[in-house]
Symmetry: C2
Subunit: 251 residues, 2 copies
């Protein structure tokens, strides 16, 4: 950070946790409560989930910067053109935030834990040489989900694997066979493939689906019983069974 | 929980996060601040790390229950006799807490996130049919550590594996070769074996050691440069590189 010592402001990324407003940390709550500039991503036309979680903490008179994802009906999602559009969107916001942070703090709201699959990384990549950055960790969304299931996800010497639900089915199955506990993120429209992978690994009886963990719409179901219609904020949890260390391994 | 509806009190396990007192959640802070009974594990003769993290929140006049691990110089650690001694210790405290929670709330302090390798599980196992239990998730210790390294641990479609440092070297190496990002817990006296495993996986250049993440004694070093003397609260972090989804996998 020594290269940025002359800057008066900081970019403070506040991890908001899994969704319940009172699962925000004391440090993040104070940063938000003192903020004069608050930035957050959202879809056009929506309030924004991060903004909604932090709602009760945002001070009157602060300036809000809604970073609205570019939408277009002309470009296919995932195309090079679409990626280019997104890159320019992040470039533009990084410029604006870097400019503000020369003279004052800017708080960026981030759901979950910013450095764990967080959207903040697109700004972080672009700001790390240009601004003093402070990241406040948060409770992960997956932690909100396994807590909602009412029992430990890992204990003893369990190995935990966190898998994106976008992986191919055979790859998901292979990895689910090779771990004690597992979390599958980015479930949403990948649900039927994920379920097939869990069945293939022989673990459907242990698998839980948690939708909107810690939020008002929270639902917990056995993955085997869940319908195919699954919102974006859904996570599959397989609990570990408390593996014992191998003989002699701890010596 | 319907079987426990007649009970007036709850056992509230408050996740304390990675160590910095202001990384406690608003919900956990409120539970501690309102507590009349507070229980926490500690080693005999120590203040206790959980108690120390929560120090500033514990109300005057609350009753503290220090659950001190049994120590004995006669029994080897890990022997059947020692395990039996520990089991009776947990049984005894579960009984005492269940009795208290018939009439009033008892807050149990737990470092990190209670359902993620948390010591609370020994009480949870024994209390789940006898008490109304509420678990407040916390920021994990590993999250405090990867945040301290100053860059994202996972992004894109990275696979993250969480490994106990107690695993055998060959097993650690095999698993480190098969993931994008990795966290190795329970480092402490296992450090030299863990380092050998990371070297075996060809990943020593990417590996970081974080000691006492978010706490006053926080230190970050490249694993390749770290000495063999490593305290218990140390975690090895290997960052992912933002894996792209396989072609067609997201469809």
């Amino acid at each position: 950070m020594s290269g940025q010592d002359h800057l008066a402001g900081r970019v403070i990324c506040a991890g908001l946790g899994p969704g319940a407003p009172d699962l925000i940390s004391l440090r993040a709550a104070r940063a938000i409560g003192n903020a004069r500039h608050i930035a957050f991503f959202r879809k056009k036309g929506r309030a924004g989930r991060a903004r909604t979680i932090a709602e009760g903490l945002i001070p009157q008179g602060s300036t809000e910067h809604a970073m609205e994802y570019p939408v277009t009906t002309e470009l296919p999602f995932g195309s090079d053109e679409y990626r280019g559009l997104l890159a320019r969107f992040y470039d533009d916001w990084a410029d604006r935030i870097a400019t503000l942070a020369r003279s004052e703090d800017v708080v960026v709201l981030c759901e979950g834990d910013p450095f764990f699959y967080g959207s903040f990384m697109h700004l972080h990549l672009r700001l790390q040489t240009r601004a003093r950055i402070e990241v406040i960790p948060g409770i992960t969304g997956m932690s909100g989900c396994w807590t909602a299931t009412g029992r430990p996800v890992t204990w003893g010497d369990d190995v935990l694997t966190v898998l994106p639900g976008t992986l191919e089915q055979a790859e998901l199955t292979r990895r689910l066979r090779d771990c004690d506990a597992a979390v599958i993120m980015k479930t949403g429209r990948n649900l039927s493939r994920i379920r097939a992978a869990v069945i293939g690994a022989g673990r459907i009886a242990d698998a839980w689906l948690c939708i909107e963990g810690t939020m008002p719409g929270q639902r917990i179901a056995r993955l085997g019983d869940a319908g195919d219609d699954c919102p974006y904020f859904a996570t599959v949890i397989l609990h570990g069974n408390g593996r014992r260390p191998l003989a002699g391994a701890a010596e």
